[in-house]
């Protein structure tokens, strides 16, 4: 595995992932997860919501460098997102930007599952 196996965005986020962690359970916190380490990837997402928007998102990940980068990128992109944004979020967005290898796209679907599960959580909260 060398530097050239990944695009520069992946290398950067892998070295310094943004917003790693989780929010403790509270009234304004929603959380969801997807995946299983035995299948090579798991994402745990938690977000603080205010009115109809996410004001902060934290993620935890067990996965390959592409997955760590995807979680980190997502945590930046979903700041300010609405429930509808979450529901509409598709793995393709991260796949293109991070140049996900085709054989790893299943792992991004796991992230998509986690995002959609977060939206469902939010819905139930209301």
């Amino acid at each position: 595995v060398s530097e050239t196996s990944y695009n520069p965005v992946v290398v950067e986020h892998f070295a310094r992932p943004r917003n790693v962690g989780r929010f403790a359970a509270a009234a304004d916190i929603i959380a969801a997860s997807a995946g299983d380490p035995d299948q090579g990837v798991r994402f745990d997402l938690s977000a603080r919501v205010q009115d109809d928007r996410i004001v902060a998102l934290r993620f935890e990940v067990y996965g390959c460098p592409h997955c760590i980068a995807a979680g980190s990128l997502l945590s930046e992109r979903l700041q300010g997102a609405t429930q509808e944004d979450l529901r509409r979020w598709s793995w393709r967005e991260a796949a293109d930007e991070l140049e996900f290898p085709p054989e790893k796209r299943g792992r991004l679907l796991v992230l998509e599952d986690a995002v959609h599960a977060l939206a469902a959580q939010w819905q139930r909260r209301r």
């Binding site: 595995v1 060398s2 530097e3 196996s5 990944y6 892998f14 992932p17 790693v20 989780r22 997860s33 380490p37 035995d38 090579g40 990837v41 798991r42 994402f43 745990d44 935890e60 990940v61 067990y62 996965g63 390959c64 460098p65 997955c67 760590i68 054989e103």
Partner: protein, 394 residues
Amino acid sequence: VNTVKTIYLDYAASTPVDPRVADAMIECLRASGEQGNPSSAGHEFGRRARALVEKARAQVAKAIGARPECIVWTSGATESDNLAIFGVARFNADRGRHLVSSKTEHKAVLDPLKQLEREGFEVTWLKPGADGIVRPEQVQAALRPDTQLVSLMHVNNEIGVVQDIAAVGAICRERGIAFHVDAAQSAGKLPLNVDAMNVDLLSLTAHKIYGPKGIGALYVRRKPPLGLKPLIYGGGQEYGIRSGTLATHQIVGMGLAFEIAEREREQDVERIGALRDRLWAGISSLGEVELNGHPQARVAGLLNVSFRGVEGESLQFALRELAVSAGSACSSASEEASYVLRALGRSDQLAQSSLRFSLGRYTTAEQVQTAIAAVKREVTRLRSYSPSAVENKP
């Protein structure tokens, strides 16, 4: 300018050529060197090249306690394994079609055996214990009247455990069954004696013992003679067992590499073993790490470690300043978890989160300290990203 120097800890994949070996090989290739065909007995050029080939044959033979005429040059351990397995199986096919081996053999043994299965042979695949060791009694129990060959590696390339070859050999010898041993990972690390180990066929390679790539040998028992059907036909070199013009410079390199390795074996092993212990002490201080394979019955230079709560590819990328292997170098391109670690009963997750560190002749204490620091730093970092659910998994 890349100022970060990668530390080479992958000696089990291949070793650098010892400068003394490189010098001897280069001499062969110069205009003043021996450029004749070793099989050209009719003139001086050929005879001088032949003399070098025979000197090397004696050097390799001496390192394994064999007579020189038992050494057959090949292109490496993969060819030696293929020649031994196909050679014995096909030579004896009308007498019996059963073979015995283990699930943790190198692919160079597994794949020829699988091919034989497709050709109608039957293979009993022994499952080693969780420590990676195949018990001699397992071999005993697997033998049948139609068994033609037992093939078992001396030292496992992924985890470094040492099999009790002498005991298995004694069982095979008693039953008159041919016994093949892949010794690619044990030459220069453990004492080798084909008679004491009751071995009939022994695969060797130069590039794991500070010699060049592309040259190996197969020891073939001569007394009583062992029937072997060749894989390669042609000029009838190597007693008709392996045709092809002999590569004088490669052979010279392998001969010298084996002589040096045997002469310096004890001091090398002591020094490398101490560095390996230091590396393990450093890594294990992290906690939640598992040493793969038997803790004592192992070669000096190799450590295979599973890290809990860290994904394998991220671990490898995070530690790219260290040249180490995830599983076996030959198969790490594939996504599947190491079949060796799976055979030992490790979960997919632990098998994927394993690294093989292998140390050698040029490894320094400073490199080991740097490696320990890098492993501790990066494993701690990656674990801090992990969902807590992962860490709580059994």
